[in-house]
Symmetry: C2
C-alpha cells in the first residue's frame, strides 16, 4: 500500500498500475530518450514540462483536473518526477508509467514544490529548461519559478521540445487514432440518424455523447459540435436547444478519443434538399479533400499543401479563411488538436513526415449567413497519404 506524503518528498508507487498502461514500456523509453537528445542539443540539464499533453506523453499521468499546476521534472538519468496536487498525485503513483510524484497540499504554493524538487535533482550550476508556451502555469507563476531558480544560481532557458516530438506518431499511437476514428464514425451516424425537422439540437448532441462514450470514447478536449440553421455562422458553436427547421443546414464535428488520441471528423447536411449554393460549397470542400490527400506526402512543405487548397477554393471564387489542417494526437481541453505545434497554413515552411496525422478542415464561413466544413483525419505514410476516418463526404440529407 502506498500513502501520499504530506510534504514535498518524492514518493514512488510500488504496486502494479490500477489500469493497464495504454503504451509499451519501449514506447515510453523511446519518448524519454528522444527528449533527452533534445535537452542535450539545447544544453539543458533539467527540463520542466507544464502541459498536460506533454506530461501524459512522457509519464502516462492522466487526469482532466489540471487546474492545479502540474509539472514533470526530467533529468538526464533518472525517471521523471511529477509535481502534482496531493490528491491527484494518485494518478501518477498508482496509474502511470513513471510512478514518481511530489504531492503538494491545496494550501501550498505549487511553485515552492517544483523549486524544492529542482534543488534536489539539479547540480548547482545546472541549466533548467522550462516550457514557456504551456497554458497551465500562469504568467505569474512562471515568473515566480524562474525568479526562484535564477536567485538560487541556476541558469534558466525557455524551451518547448515535447510538442515537436509528439508530431510524429508511432505504430502504437496510430493504432489509437484508428480506433478513435471508428468511434467518431459511429457517433456521426448516430447524429445524422437523430437529426430531422422538429428535433432539438440537444437531442442530437445527447445521442452523439451516448454513442461516443458508450463505445469507449474518452472526454475530448473540445465538445462535439452540433449546429444548425442560423447558428452555422458561429465558429465552434454547439448544441443550444434550437429546434431544427425545414431548410436548415446542419454541421456535426465529432471527436472520438482513445487513450487520449483523437480522430475528429466533420460532416454537413441539410433538412430536405440543399440549395444550389450550399451544394456548391460542399463540392469545393470535397474537391479540396481530394487534391489535399493526393498532394500530402513526406517532404511536402505545409505551406505548399495549403496552397493546393487555396487554388482549389479559388476555382469556386472562395477565399480560404482559416488553416487547411492541424496535427492531431494527444488531446486535452481546451483543444483537441495540436495546431499550436503544427498547422497547415500559408506561412508554415516545415515539411511533412511519415507518421504525422492531420485533421484536414477545408471549409469557409460566409459572413453571418452560413458555414461549411467537410473534414478527414489523415496519416502521412512512407509514400503518401492515408485517409483514416471513413464516412461518406457528400452533404447528408435528412
Amino acid at each position: 500500500m502506498t500513502m501520499i506524503a504530506r510534504n514535498f518528498e518524492v514518493q514512488k508507487g510500488t504496486e502494479a498500475t490500477i489500469s493497464k498502461l495504454p503504451f509499451s514500456n519501449e514506447e515510453y523509453e523511446r519518448r524519454l530518450e528522444a527528449l533527452r537528445r533534445e535537452m542535450r542539443t539545447a544544453g539543458v540539464d533539467v527540463f520542466i514540462s507544464f502541459g498536460p499533453e506533454n506530461i501524459f506523453y512522457l509519464t502516462g499521468h492522466d487526469t482532466p483536473a489540471y487546474q492545479y499546476v502540474q509539472a514533470c521534472v526530467v533529468t538526464m538519468d533518472a525517471t521523471p518526477i511529477n509535481v502534482i496536487r496531493h490528491i491527484d498525485a494518485s494518478n501518477t503513483l498508482y496509474n502511470s508509467w513513471s510512478k514518481l510524484a511530489v504531492g503538494y497540499q491545496d494550501e501550498d504554493e505549487p511553485i515552492s514544490a517544483i523549486f524544492a524538487l529542482v534543488q534536489q535533482v539539479a547540480k548547482p550550476d545546472a541549466t533548467i529548461g522550462l516550457e514557456d508556451e504551456a497554458f497551465f502555469v500562469s504568467p505569474k507563476r512562471y515568473a515566480m519559478l524562474t525568479g526562484l531558480l535564477q536567485g538560487a544560481g541556476y541558469k534558466t532557458t525557455a524551451t518547448n521540445p515535447v510538442g515537436t516530438l509528439r508530431l510524429t506518431k508511432s505504430a502504437e499511437e496510430i493504432s489509437c487514432i484508428r480506433r478513435a476514428a471508428r468511434i467518431s464514425e459511429k457517433a456521426m451516424a448516430a447524429a445524422i440518424g437523430a437529426a430531422g425537422e422538429g428535433v432539438n439540437e440537444n437531442f442530437i448532441a445527447a445521442e452523439v455523447w451516448r454513442v461516443l462514450v458508450g463505445n469507449g470514447g474518452e472526454f475530448p478536449g473540445l465538445p462535439p459540435f452540433v449546429t444548425s440553421g442560423p447558428r452555422m455562422c458561429l465558429a465552434h458553436a454547439t448544441w443550444s436547444g434550437r429546434q431544427l427547421q425545414a431548410g436548415d443546414s446542419l454541421g456535426f464535428e465529432i471527436p472520438g478519443v482513445v487513450n487520449r488520441y483523437v480522430a475528429p471528423i466533420y460532416r454537413c447536411g441539410t433538412i430536405g434538399k440543399p440549395n444550389a449554393g450550399f451544394e456548391k460549397l460542399a463540392e469545393a470542400c470535397i474537391t479540396s479533400l481530394e487534391v489535399l490527400t493526393a498532394s500530402i506526402k513526406p517532404g511536402a512543405v505545409a505551406a505548399d499543401i495549403h496552397q493546393v487548397h487555396v487554388d482549389n477554393f479559388s476555382r469556386y471564387k472562395l477565399i480560404v479563411d482559416h488553416r487547411t489542417g492541424y496535427s492531431v494526437g494527444v488531446n486535452y481541453a481546451p483543444d483537441w488538436g495540436e495546431g499550436n505545434e503544427l498547422s497547415i497554413t500559408r506561412t508554415e515552411r516545415r515539411e511533412l513526415k511519415p507518421g504525422m496525422v492531420f485533421h484536414l478542415v477545408p471549409g469557409v464561413f460566409i459572413d453571418d449567413r452560413t458555414h461549411i466544413t467537410i473534414s478527414e483525419t489523415v496519416l502521412v505514410t512512407e509514400t503518401g497519404c492515408e485517409v483514416i476516418t471513413q464516412y461518406p463526404r457528400p452533404l447528408f440529407i435528412v
Copy 2:
C-alpha cells in the same frame, strides 16, 4: 450583414444576436461598472483580460475554442473590445452583448493584434493592467505583450480583478445555477439507475451525458466523473471501460451547466450492501455537510468553516486531505469551479458574503484503496445557507 475584416480593425456587429442573450443589459452594465471601480482603485486606465470565464462574464462572448489567444480590452468609457481569432470573432460580432471585435488571421501573432488595439484606445501615458493569473495566454506571449507595451512607453501592472467580482452572484446568475442543479439531479438519477453488477462504466457515463445534454446541460469544464471499485482511489478518474463487480464502491460527480453556470453534485454508493467502513466514511461526509451548512453565513471566515469540517472528520479519526469547498459559477475547461478565486481552506481568511455559491466537497482518499465524497452546491443567503442541489445523501445501493 456583417463581414469580418482581414486586418486588425475594430468591427461591430449590427444585427440582433443569433441566440437570446442569457443575461439582461443591466446585468452586463453592472459587471462593467464594478470592474471600472476596481480599475480606478488600482490606477488602471486600460485593462486586458485573457480568461475565457472573464471574457464571457464581461461581454457574453462564448466559445469553447480558446486555444487561440482571446483578449478583452476594457477602457473607462467605451464598450469592451474582444481580440479573437478571425473565425471565432463571429461569436462576439453576431452573438454577444458587446459585439465589438478585432479578428486576427491564423497566420497572425495574436499579441500584435492586442498591441495594435491598445495603441488605438490608450493615451500615451496610460497604465495598462493585464491578467497574469490567466491560463490561456502563455508565459511567452504575456512577456511579449508586456515588452511591447513597455517599449511603447506604457506603464504595465499585473491585476486580476474580474475573478473576485464573479464570486458574488446576482439573482440572474443564481437562477442559472438553480436550473443547472435540476439537470445535475436528473443525470445523477440516471447514473444510479444505470449502475449494477456487470454494467460497464462507459454505459453509465453514456447515460449521464445523454441526460445532461438532452436536458440542455452545456459542455462542462470537467467531465462527469464515473468511477468504480479499485479506480475509486484515483482522483478525478472517470469512465474507463471497467465492468462493475459485486461489492464495488461507486462514485458519480455530475456537472449540470446552464448559461455556463454549473451546479455540481457528488454521490457515492455500492453494489450490494456497503461494508461498515465505507458506511462510516459516508456518515463522516454527511455529518460534515450538516455542520457546514449550519455554519455557513455571511461574515463567516472561510478558514473557520474549513475547521468545522476538520473537527467533524476528527471525530471519525479522519484527516481532511483537500479543501472543504470551492466557489462555483461560470465554468470553462479545465475546471468547473472557481477555486482559484476562492476555496474554503485552512489558510483562507476572507469572509463569506451573500450571493456566494460553493460546491462543498467533504471527502477523503484512503491511500490506494478507496475514496468517498458526498457533496452539495450551496448558496450563502442574507442570513445563512441554502442547499441548492437536492438529492438523497446516503450511500445508494444498486
